[in-house]
Symmetry: C2
């Protein structure tokens, strides 16, 4: 194919769009790949659609290669199946909801577990029909609170989602492994570096899940990795728990007035001065900070919880959001924030700055929910036998040597503290480092949750009905285009990896001679005949500077310039990424470029 730039529906922009906050967004708009239609909603121009199509083709090939079969579901779906699984409610404000002319409820699907489950239920009845892997490449909707970064977090986006159906756990594991392999091959072919991170906290139990993160500073996800190979998203990191201590010898707890200790540091200094430990000085990590949080549930309810953690750590709200639902007995997405004054006013026992569990008052303020009416959860570091300085639930007073397991209890543990660089990896593989990434894919062993809710059973070899076990696997296809742009650009424009570039070669004629244009025309035709996909800048009156600028902005990996060198019988072949250029005799140009493009 030869596409003439003079005919291509394209207008490159010199200025960055005002609303673009990351490089991929800026460059994809400036180079004429996409345009914004509404917040988080984009149109694909011819160049963008070509790259998108190449990404889709790679995804499709690798999914087909593991025996997955392509189907296509509607985006507009009735409420009922999502009601059965409770996701109609759980999705909260992230779900686009609407009514039809008969006032029946519909949604724009954010993901299709329910529909795939019902389809397999409709079609299959026996374990002999399984396994089956189904996928689609389809437009999804999510009413993000903060759409940002162009295609990186949109409200209408393209996903490949697949689902596996097996009669037993071994089958699910095989399906999961097959998808994991396919995903790694897809990202490799796309030229997209990814790190596979554990995405479900081991402490929470549950099924296996991994995210594929593309490391980049503009990523929204923080993840950790160790030199020894551990990788996890921050929500999934489990704390290395110190051993429990015997509290037989611990001194008795005592309440003291602690004037002039507005900060943890001043409190620790005061403690070391007035009530020194016998074994070592008090440290910030010996203070027990009790943080009051408000949790907004998908149902619209707001719940107050208190989390106790060492005073040298901050609460990571995302980590709390990942697991607090299980403690509250709700599924779906929750939003967690610091409790407001109004929230606190409803719990007058909580004395701001002096909140603590245990013995300090006749009526315990914090402890187990059954005793106090307030859910109280502890950082895993608060093991039995540890001694703490914490609030006494009275203004100006703290309690000292309050000992876990002896003087106070809680409703359970929670991974709520921030993970810090230097923390130990849970598998002992060394200290963690923190990095940011974009979630490119997610694979998840769903197990029987959806099959149970929607009653998907098959007959096993003994004629007994068994519930099917499922996996769910997603790749952000439109997001991949943005991630590729983010990871492959310089200050002058995009630099596409060859496998997804909109064209193989960007050919341009620079100069005014008729001979130059005739030679460029001929070369375009010859390259086409050799099976290359050519973008030919045939604009007769555009300056070389503008042509070079557009070529660099558009980012085809190889540029061929037919210009001054023609008098000497050569064309210039330039590598967009390295900037290197070589002069190639006209007669050799096709062979040379085939070699460059085909990688030989």
């Amino acid at each position: 194919m030869v596409t003439r730039l003079s005919q291509l529906f394209l207008r490159t922009l010199r200025e960055d769009p005002a609303d673009a906050d990351v490089a991929s967004h800026r460059l994809l708009v400036r180079a004429g790949y996409i345009r914004r239609a509404a917040p988080g909603i984009y149109s694909w121009l011819p160049l963008g659609l070509k790259v998108l199509g190449r990404v889709e083709a790679i995804v499709r090939e690798e999914m087909n290669a593991i025996g997955a079969q392509e189907v296509h579901f509607p985006a507009l779906l009735p409420r009922e199946p999502y009601e059965v699984t409770n996701r109609w409610t759980e999705y909260g404000e992230n779900l686009f909801r609407l009514q039809d002319r008969r006032e029946a409820d519909y949604l724009l699907a954010p993901t299709h577990e329910e529909m795939f489950t019902l389809l397999v239920k409709d079609m299959y009845t026996s374990y002999k029909d399984l396994p089956v892997y189904l996928y689609q490449i389809q437009t999804k909707y999510r009413d993000e609170a903060r759409p940002r970064a162009g295609l990186l977090r949109g409200r209408e986006f393209i996903m490949k989602d697949s689902y596996s159906f097996d009669a037993d756990d071994d089958g699910l594991q095989r399906a999961y492994d097959a998808h994991r392999g396919a995903y790694l091959r897809i990202f490799d072919r796309l030229g997209l570096e990814v790190v596979a991170v554990n995405a479900v906290s081991g402490a929470m139990g549950g099924s296996r899940s991994e995210e594929f993160l593309h490391p980049t500073d503009v990523g929204e996800d923080t993840f950790v990795r160790s030199a020894g190979g551990y990788a996890a998203n921050v929500e999934a990191v489990t704390t290395v728990v110190p051993p429990a201590l015997d509290h037989a010898g611990a001194p008795a707890a005592h309440v003291e007035a602690t004037p002039d200790t507005p900060t943890i540091d001043t409190l620790v200094a005061d403690a070391n001065a007035r009530f020194p430990r016998e074994d070592r000085p008090w440290a910030a990590a010996d203070t027990l900070k009790n943080v009051v949080l408000a949790v907004d549930l998908p149902t619209g309810q707001r719940r107050i919880v208190v989390i106790g953690l060492p005073g040298d750590r901050a609460v990571d709200l995302k980590r709390v959001e990942a697991t607090i639902g299980a403690h509250l007995g709700v599924a779906g997405e929750v939003a967690v924030e610091a409790a407001t004054e109004a929230d606190l006013a409803a719990h007058p026992g909580l004395v701001k700055g002096y909140i603590g569990p245990g013995i300090a008052l006749d009526e315990p303020v914090l402890g187990t929910e059954s005793a106090t009416g307030l859910l109280y959860l502890l950082d895993p570091r608060v093991v039995d036998g540890t001694r703490w300085i914490t609030g006494a639930n009275q203004p100006g007073r703290h309690v000292f040597d309050l000992t876990a397991g002896r003087d106070f209890a809680a409703d359970g543990g929670i991974e709520a503290s921030e993970v810090r660089a230097g923390d130990e990896a849970p598998d002992g593989s060394g200290p963690l480092e923190l990095a940011r990434g974009i979630e490119m894919g997610h694979i998840f062993q769903l197990g029987r949750k959806y099959a149970e809710a929607l009653d998907l059973q098959v007959l096993d070899a003994n004629g007994k009905r068994v519930t099917v076990t499922m996996g769910s696997y997603g790749i952000g296809v439109s997001r991949a285009v943005a991630a590729l742009a983010e990871g492959n650009h310089d200050e002058r424009g995009l630099i596409w990896p060859r496998n997804v570039a909109p064209f193989d070669v960007h050919l341009m004629a620079t100069g005014k001679g008729e001979k130059i244009f005739a030679a460029a025309e001929q070369l375009a035709a010859d390259l086409q005949a050799a099976g290359l996909d050519v973008l030919y800048d045939d604009r007769p009156r555009t300056s070389p500077g503008v042509k070079f600028g557009d070529a660099e902005l558009i980012g085809v990996p190889t540029t061929v310039v037919v210009g001054r060198g023609l008098a000497d019988g050569v064309v210039e072949v330039r590598d967009r990424r390295t900037g290197d250029s070589v002069d190639v005799p006209v007669a050799d140009a096709v062979g040379h470029l085939r070699g460059v493009v085909r990688g030989s």
Copy 2:
């Protein structure tokens, strides 16, 4: 490719689905091509998606061949552009509307004129940039009052829509002609018979528009055609108007009591008995029937209009709906129905059964709207000088010899009467016959309506700003799959045209010998090596009867049976459409099938 039926995600059904009212719907569901997700909303299974993909590929090739460039717009769009053109309102209940979490209004786009117009405005500024033809193959939404017939009239469906942008009318004509040609090639390649019909009434003026209808009894659109080549949809047919008569010699109108004339026939008989015409007997076509209609506007308003037409004709509400908006000064879709008792009660001058225009009362009941407050429109046959029997606006009384142009006037003419088989074609090409069809495509010279509303201008050769002129062109892609099924089936199943069939060859092994399956395996591999796309029924324990039944239901055009004949060194090649079969030596099978498939 070889697809093994034992692995294919497929389950054929013996029973028709309960909700399927047409053959294409029944068979596409039974043969495992589609499944219903909600009223008018369907999921595509692997077989269906393959056929859909082949249809899309043909559409894409022909659009690219006329220089159209593919883009892709969102389905979820903000209200604002549709507000500017007033279509937010005009679409009425057919539009799916929703709000996002910030309560901003959105819609699911039924068509994208606004967005394409704004995109070109964003990108282009000069006549030199034009023409540009843009298209997309995209999911559209329309909240149909009566979704029916499976994919034939859905609420979520796939359309190819394209738009042309030109600086002048000649350019628009070229764009229109190019699309017209591409559409005819597309339908030809799909194997889909279509009739191009005029879709805009010449009487209404306005731009050129044609629909491509696939003739079938299950079609919702009625169209007419003459032996001489005229074709139009019923809304577009113009009446052959008789010449005006001189009313100088017409007798004076006279009001008479007309007891016992409950029907037009009895009224005519009474007239011939008591007040005979001097030239010929009165006929039903000489009575002027005045029909009161209620028009529901997109704004929610309800307007009353009266239409006068010869008593031997009925009003065709669809024809009225097509043009009444222009008379009322509103754009968009209107719904017309007979006025209710409540509507009539608001106009006490209208005496049911005795409504008439003209002189019969001091205060005219019907005439021009300025005189009566009621819009009154006449069938084109009511030309000046014609003499009528009509109501006298008094119970039991009619007026005779009421003469058009002398005794009464109206606000204008309207094509409101039913078109009947035998009516003359407006171009004189002979009597019309009526037929039914499915609208497969529609091409339309929009002109400057959208460009004006959204201010799309370019600089012309003289540096003057000119408004761009546009065309809009649509093909129902998912509907084409259903129309192809509708036009290509028998009582046993589907019979796909070769260009859109899900596979080239349906190969089956029948019998139990290992040799048979080994030979079938080998043939499958050889056919694949020869570039054919093979569905191989490799099920080891399925009876030949079930295999044949599935093959006939699925409808691949050519079946190859490896069975009993193998002992004699032959396989059976069967044509699904004709039922003809030939025995072919195994050694020749690949060559023979290549010939059949490639049409040589």
